[in-house]
């Protein structure tokens, strides 16, 4: 099967129907034993210090693994991705464009989806066939997410990772489904581990994956991981076709659409506080102004750059914030 790199979540169903094996370049970068090597490759080729580590990591991963073709998201991802696409093209990487239209109109997305399907020469039936297969897998991820906030039997890290990997189903849907089946068996037999604080994680997935386990040492647990959950398409059952599924997806669209879903989950999951992660040099850091104003919940913004573990200062900030948040949960007067 031909491999195709992804820089963000795109309609996997179309690619798989066309006989491709999609793989997420973000995952390839961040799970690498020496992820800094990928950033070095990018900086040696001239990427500035003041640029998002994800972009540089994706570039390094493409070069190191000699990636031949990728899906280039032209609308619905950041402007850094656009220049990354141009540079990769100049290095001989074949770009296949896809857009999440800024208008967020279903007819515009439908037009784009049809173009994308025609480009890969796949029919509606073929795509729906794959969608049905993937929805079976999505249902299992959704079950794990539900258990995380309803039954306290899933760790924040597990839930984060299992949802995150839905961006490419770890390169092999059948094996991933088996992994989920085994996980579910294990999870459903566990005793609950209840932590005092119920946290939500919002923002792009972190470079610092140890965040999830770290907060659990502070009597807290993440019960919601916003973007990771979006990658798994938790509302897939409400979609009657591929266009509707990728229309009801917050990540590439406007802020107002996104914040409504966050507030819904904050209420549903009875969260006590939010950790908002932003990547150094990313425009999304300014969204903290809006999130702080509009979400009706205490919120802490932390920032990651190149390191894939939390630094001492961020740990101290998390400790101080969660310590006071914990006091608030038991106000006596």
């Amino acid at each position: 099967m031909k491999k195709i790199g992804l820089t963000t979540t795109v309609p996997l169903e179309v690619l798989m129907a066309a006989g491709y094996e999609p793989f997420d370049l973000n995952n390839l970068f961040v799970t690498a034993e020496n992820h800094l090597h990928y950033i070095d490759i990018a900086e040696q080729d001239g990427f500035p210090k003041s640029m998002c580590a994800w972009i540089k990591g994706i570039y390094g991963a493409c070069i190191e693994h000699d990636v031949k073709e990728i899906i280039a998201v032209m609308e619905g991802d950041c402007s850094n991705t656009k220049v990354l696409n141009d540079i990769l093209k100049s290095k001989g990487v074949l770009l296949h464009p896809f857009s999440f239209p800024h208008s967020h109109l279903i007819e515009d997305l439908d037009k784009e989806m049809k173009r994308f399907m025609k480009y890969f020469d796949v029919s509606d039936e073929e795509v729906e066939g794959v969608r049905k297969q993937l929805n079976r897998i999505r249902k299992k991820v959704k079950r794990i997410d539900d258990l995380s906030y309803k039954k306290d039997v899933v760790s924040g890290f597990e839930n984060h990772l299992l949802q995150l990997c839905m961006s490419d189903l770890d390169g092999n849907p059948l094996e991933y489904e088996k992994l989920l089946d085994d996980k579910l068996l294990d999870i459903e037999s566990r005793n609950p581990i209840v932590k005092k604080l119920r946290l939500g994680y919002i923002g792009v997935p972190p470079m610092t994956g140890d965040l999830f386990d770290f907060v659990e040492t502070l009597d807290s647990k993440f019960m919601y991981s916003e973007v990771q959950r979006e990658f798994s398409f938790p509302r897939f059952e409400m979609a009657t076709n591929i266009t509707e599924q990728y229309y009801d997806y917050t990540y590439p669209y406007d802020f107002d659409y996104r914040i409504k879903e966050i507030q819904r989950q904050v209420d549903l999951r009875e969260l006590d506080g939010i950790i908002h992660y932003t990547q150094a040099f990313c425009h999304k850091a300014a969204e903290h102004i809006l999130l702080k104003d509009q979400l009706n919940i205490p919120i802490l913004n932390i920032e990651g750059d190149k390191l894939n573990v939390l630094d001492a200062r961020t740990k101290l900030r998390l400790e101080a914030f969660l310590d006071m948040l914990s006091d608030m949960k038991v106000v006596t007067k």
Binding site: K292, P298, I299, R317, A320, F321, D323, M324, T332, K333
Partner: protein, 252 residues
């Protein structure tokens, strides 16, 4: 409910007793005298509360530098970031601001948003930006600390990073004939310049000052150019102890 709060600082121990959120007793004791004359050692430090003279209390909360130093028998220890945050929330009744606490040998900047700590910066390795520096320089200039703190006009640069080297630099300026007023302003300005890097990431409209240096008029004057509003707490030195009382009365 009567809550006893103790803040064990590097130079002084601050003690506050609040009854129903009102301070009814406060006392400062030098740290050395506190451990020597007011404490017994029985595996853990036991405070002789009768000697302190605060009267009976329902709950006691302590804070200060170093976990072992503040772990007093009968007292619940809380970390000093939280104690200072709560003290300032109680004293200002504000929700969003930056708290700058300048103590004898440490400085803390704490960003409060929605009554929660969201960012912290502490001095480490060096105490040249703290109250002790001002005390030493006042001694060199043979002026009182109160006198020193009133001067802020036309400071000259004292460039040394090190507080000890600054003393020789100051003596050099004395020899050049600078007036006492200018020298005092220079000392204050050099402290302000050392604080600046710590505050770089702490942008806010309001700055609240606590700790012994909060009443320093010159520091207030310089900081006024960086913030829309600079507020000195009414009881700046007792802020940590007041925070202990607030914690004790609000949270179980």
């Amino acid at each position: 409910m009567r809550i006893l709060g103790i803040d064990l600082g590097s130079r002084e121990v601050k003690i506050v007793l609040q009854e129903n959120h009102v301070t009814v007793f406060k006392k400062k004791i030098s740290t050395m005298a506190f451990y020597r004359d007011f404490c017994l050692y029985d595996g853990k430090i036991v405070v002789d509360v009768n000697k302190i003279g605060c009267g009976p209390f329902d709950r006691a909360v302590s804070t200060g530098y170093g976990k072992n130093n503040t772990d007093l028998s009968q007292f619940e220890a809380i970390n000093e970031i939280k104690a200072h945050a709560y003290g300032s929330i109680f004293q200002t009744k504000m929700d969003d601001y930056v708290l700058l606490d300048i103590g004898g040998q440490d400085v803390k900047a704490i960003k409060i948003e929605n009554r929660l700590t969201v960012d912290i910066e502490l001095n480490d390795r060096c105490a040249a930006s703290c109250g002790r520096y001002l005390e030493n320089m006042a001694q060199v200039l043979e002026v009182s600390l109160d006198e020193l703190s009133t001067h802020f006009n036309e400071p000259v640069e004292l460039n040394s990073t090190c507080a000890v080297f600054s003393e020789s630099e100051l003596i050099g300026k004395i020899a050049e004939g600078a007036t006492t007023e200018v020298l005092c302003a220079s000392v204050n300005y050099s402290l302000y310049k050392r604080l600046k890097p710590l505050l770089n990431n702490f942008k806010s409209k309001k700055l609240v000052l606590s700790g012994g240096v909060a009443k320093n008029e010159a520091i207030q004057f310089y900081l006024n150019s960086d913030y829309k509003e600079v507020i000195s707490l009414e009881d700046p030195q007792f802020n940590g102890a007041i925070g202990c009382c607030y914690y004790g009365s609000m949270f179980s």
